[in-house]
Symmetry: C2
Subunit: 290 residues, 2 copies
């Protein structure tokens, strides 16, 4: 089954389109987790990842580890990422690796071999990768080729959720914002699968911090699943989220990280922390369902 | 000494602004190197890196490893990158790590800790990092903070050298191309050091495959050193390169990878290969000097 089909099945069986981000930042972690982990980065990262996955893997179709938080610790960090990817894989939850790679064609090919190829170091552990398309179509091409060849997916940055996203992405060129030009580029890759039923495996990142543009993007990208970050800690709006779904309530996943994985309050034990994460995920699932 | 000063000194003492890219792709490697390396990726990557560095470190001020070619082999690849960075450091050549990272602020902070902070895994081994600014100013901010704090530099993508670069970067918004808007963003970071003599530590990637725009960008970015890729295998023009330098012949480094590190011809021994790389570097140095 290709990525979009696996994701569709996951959304149906879990009854939610919530994606939980895994962004292990020591300065945000609960004291109970830090004291259990000690000073070793590998233990800290994997304990955080396992605690989050134990709580949310039974509830959501997909999780999104952000590779920066692992790279930050060098080899030990990336060894922890592999452990967490395998742990998520064993729990049957899908994985979108948030890496936002993108470079000239030959270099994108090297990244694609790493993160999407079946014989690469991460390929067998990853279902989908985020990619930065601002270098142009030839920067995206090797990722699209590798993803479609191995039944995996891409989410290409179209309009991001950060406060400064509008600075370049909302510039108006030829009567439309730059992000709409990027959307056309994304759709040209999505159209390669136009013969298939359902959504393409080439999706788009569309921030929940947008205004009315989400509806416009939904129309511009009829074949692409949206990855919608920015809900929760980043202050994204659930109205925007609604506009990202199609009329059947499909076509998007909503990503939340900090608001779920760093729940407020005191947690006396790791089990308490895990339960608080589970509750935060359930609350977000309810919010999205409304 | 801060990055721009170290680079200035290196360019003066070597008498060239050539930067040699280190892009270890097995499919391009000479048979003599592959048979010496065997099947182990770590050995293949480090043998390639050491062979290139032995040949070019005595000739050039700076080298540019592209991290994708190391990530492609997972942990073994990144272990090889560390070895090569240390090897280059020991030889006294400056290092710009080509990683093109860029994300929302908190995630960019994690990347900055990895690649620029003095207490990060790669920070002590790297002088400068390439960054993708298309997510906006808040995506760049943590990299600029970390770089300026630790005497390191950035090269922000302004106009890249790939064939499809114009697709988004040359769109005209408010009467000027998107890359000129990015140039303004880069200059706003470079201006933070306006009290200092000489160039800022916040530079710009400006492809040698451009036309007359290089001169325009030189005027828009008076404080920024240009990293000019695309010479050699990518077919960049030496006329464009000339426009990237200031009237004193400073303010830019010219990057070439494949045309130098994969020299044509047969090489009976590793010493022959090393000598061919040295000759290719010397030829490129002559071309740039003209």
């Amino acid at each position: 089954m290709r990525f979009a089909e696996r994701l569709h099945e996951g959304i149906i069986s879990q009854g939610t389109a919530l994606c939980v981000g895994i962004d292990p930042a020591r300065e945000r972690m609960a004291p109970v987790l830090l004291s259990a982990a000690g000073d070793d980065p590998y233990t800290m990262l994997t304990l955080f990842g396992r605690t989050v996955l134990d709580a949310v893997a039974p509830l959501v179709p997909i999780v999104k580890p952000q590779i920066a938080y692992f790279e930050r610790y060098g080899l030990e960090g990336l060894r922890a990422l592999e452990t967490i990817l395998q742990y998520a894989r064993d729990k049957g939850v899908l994985i979108v690796l948030d890496a936002k790679r993108g470079d000239i064609g030959e270099t994108s090919s090297a990244y694609a071999k790493a993160y999407l190829a079946d014989d690469g170091p991460y390929g067998p552990l990853v279902d989908c990768l985020t990619v930065n398309p601002y270098m142009g179509p030839d920067a995206v091409e090797p990722f699209a080729d590798a993803a479609l060849k191995s039944g995996k997916g891409l989410f290409l940055l179209v309009r991001t959720s950060n406060p400064g996203a509008a600075h370049l992405q909302n510039l108006i060129a030829d009567g439309k914002p730059v992000y709409a030009h990027v959307a056309s580029l994304v759709d040209s890759f999505a159209q390669r699968q136009s013969g298939l039923a359902g959504y393409s495996d080439i999706g788009a990142v569309v921030g929940a911090t947008l205004g009315s543009e989400a509806r416009e993007l939904r129309a511009l990208l009829p074949r692409s699943i949206f990855l919608v970050p920015g809900v929760g800690a980043q202050g994204g709006s659930l109205d925007v989220v609604r506009d990202c779904f199609d009329t059947n309530g499909m076509g998007a996943i909503v990503s939340s990280s900090r608001a779920i994985t760093y729940p407020a309050g005191e947690h006396a034990t790791l089990d308490d922390l895990s339960e608080a994460i589970r509750q935060a995920a359930l609350n977000t699932i309810k919010d999205i369902a409304r």
